[in-house]
Symmetry: C2
Subunit: 363 residues, 2 copies
DNA sequence: GGGAAAATCTATAACGTTATAGATTTGCCA
DNA sequence: TGGCAAATCTATAACGTTATAGATTTTCCC
């Protein structure tokens, strides 16, 4: 009875008439013309009937929908796109510099899952070391090759966000900038995470805290540093931030930096990091210097894929749900593209309690 | 002097005339019509000139190319697609069941890198647990929404490969099937890997070999089992294959299976696995049972992202280069789509020697 | 210098869709 | 019964591209 013309993969379905098996071999794909011929209506009428226009009679609509379903009609994307300018494409623009143990696949899967019942396709456009991050953005906006863009690796002052905001091009960001532009985003609350981590360490009587921060040019680096420094001050704990390395440095370098730090006079007893690789490197560095996690120090980390507890069960881990991010980003982006009910475009994901078995789960 | 009309992201460039900065605000995007008006030529002439047709004069071509570059002309994808049926899209169809420490991001990055200087876009279509793997394939072929498809997770008898082969739809596979259809693929030689691993274990005086095999429905599972069983026989070592778990089981289950096996009467002293997660689970299980890697047993694993040596430096690791796979798959697929010189469409990637520091690097 | 062949260009139609204005039919009321 | 409005449908044009057949110009040879 109902026609979902954006059912799974553009499928046209009726509940009473199952879509016919794909016509055996060299049958032409049906178009509006085919349906028009089959029903004796004009092409324009068929078109309007399928989009439920008010000036088409009810039984005409029914007839059209039925034959459309019968023939397995699916709108031709190129035709629609040429005529309307709508691409039905979402572009995911990614830096390839992401974490090795990266979020990328999860992000892609969750966006794709959110697009499943829609007519949107997902185009992935990574940009590389040697490229200006603006290049793919300009390309997309200038050529209109997508209806909307999902960004990641957001910087406090991000030219991509400025550019798209100015032009009113629909986009949404995994992370938030800080330049007085109120843009849609999904962000993990890294400040809250850092505070949570510091408190957990202090509760374990750790008083000399050490952190490997994310690369400074990323927005969330600032958030994490703020939370770390601020909460450490509140808790009256000593704290320091690694200067030679950030969490996107090579593992070897992070490990070496932590090793040196532990070798030195006044070794830390609590570590906070924001990535899987950094966590592993830190543990390896500390252990090489003769210190043991759980005994001589504790470590709080954040990760997207449950993993670190398998590396060292003493690890204190906060889960960052990238799937939730992708889902939210896709949904709000589509809402923006289609100018539907302006559902809240911003979301700050609060970290849950730490995941260690022996961690004080509630306060 | 030269026009690359499929330069980076469809960019039109001349060496002497740099592309003009994007016209400031509400300037219409140039089309063939714009160029025709600017040069006083017919639209058809401009079109033919831009594709270097033989019946257009040399200086006309030059003039057209120059103004095209000047205006920043880029062909409208919808127009081309509607007229020619060519989508300039490559679809990557993925199972979301992939390894947690997955290859996916690397695969996507390397395909995208190979597409950089072409006019192709990469559309990623994951399919989910509840979906028939044929669904996205049928969708793509029936609606013609891509010019070619890259598949992964290949099965020995793979209906997707059968379907696309029968219809002559361009595709290429990461992995190979075994049903008498000679299709393009890039595969890692898992049989050779298993043989290499067995020999490395035997060289270390390991005589009771144990393997966690990939899920049986995957092609490469058979290859790996063949290599393992066969080489073990040749080397006169005992061997067995885990029955309750495969390398896509949950970590906990793999760990438990290995633990039980080590607890039992006659524990293994050599382990072979094909994934990062399986390797970690195996080590954790064995250690929980009181056995130590390097001392009581050795373990050979294969992984795409250098990582396991950071988990246990005694690990014997073979590197599987997913980037190389993606690059090859993209290039051969495009060659097939464009029916260019049929460069060899099949590649079997031989494993290199093991990567342990104390491993006998050369036979 | 005439004519044919080669070189170069153009007009037209078509791909599948939708917006628009207009055409036709129906219903209703005076 | 006439007339007008509402309801329903249709013809046309346009989006940007390319294939095709044909038109025009130039070149060359006898």
């Amino acid at each position: 009875m109902h026609l979902l013309h954006r059912g799974a993969h553009d499928m046209v379905l009726t509940t009473d008439t199952p879509p016919v098996a794909p016509p055996d071999s060299e049958v032409e794909r049906p178009t509006l013309k085919t349906i028009a011929a089959a029903t004796g209506l004009a092409i324009a009428t068929v078109s309007r009937a399928l989009k439920d226009a008010p000036d088409i009679g009810e039984d005409t609509k029914r007839r059209v929908r039925e034959t459309a379903a019968l023939l397995g009609y699916r709108p031709n994307r190129a035709g629609v796109r040429l005529r309307t300018g709508k691409t039905n494409v979402i572009a995911l623009v990614l830096s390839t510099e992401a974490d090795v143990m990266n979020h990328t696949a999860q992000m892609i899967y969750s966006i794709a899952a959110a697009l499943r019942e829609t007519a949107y396709h997902l185009v992935v456009m990574p940009y590389f070391r040697d490229q200006d991050p603006m290049t793919p953005i300009r390309y997309i906006v200038e050529t209109g090759s997508a209806d909307g863009v999902v960004l990641n690796q957001i910087m406090p002052d991000d030219p991509r966000i400025r550019y798209m905001s100015e032009r009113g091009f629909p986009f949404t960001a995994h992370g938030r900038s800080d330049m007085g532009i109120d843009h849609p985003y999904f962000d993990f609350d890294n400040e809250a995470f850092a505070r949570l981590g510091v408190r957990a360490l202090v509760e374990r009587q750790r008083q000399r805290l050490f952190m490997i921060a994310p690369p400074r040019e990323q927005s969330y680096s600032g958030h994490m540093i703020t939370g770390f420094a601020d909460e450490a001050a509140v808790q009256r704990a000593r704290f320091e931030i690694a200067t030679e390395v950030s969490s996107d440095s090579h593992s070897e370098q992070m490990e070496a930096a932590v090793y040196r730090r532990f070798q030195s006079g006044n070794p830390p007893d609590g570590i906070l990091v924001g990535s899987t690789t950094a966590a592993m490197a830190a543990v390896n560095g500390a252990e090489r210097a003769g210190f043991h996690i759980g005994a001589d120090f504790d470590l709080v980390a954040k990760e997207a894929i449950p993993f670190l507890r398998r590396f060292r069960k003493e690890m204190l881990v906060v889960h960052e749900d990238v799937g939730r991010a992708g889902d939210f980003l896709a949904r709000t982006l589509i809402a923006a593209i289609e100018r539907r009910t302006p559902e809240a475009g911003q979301f700050l994901d609060k970290p849950e309690h730490l995941g260690a078995d022996d961690a004080p789960q509630r306060r």
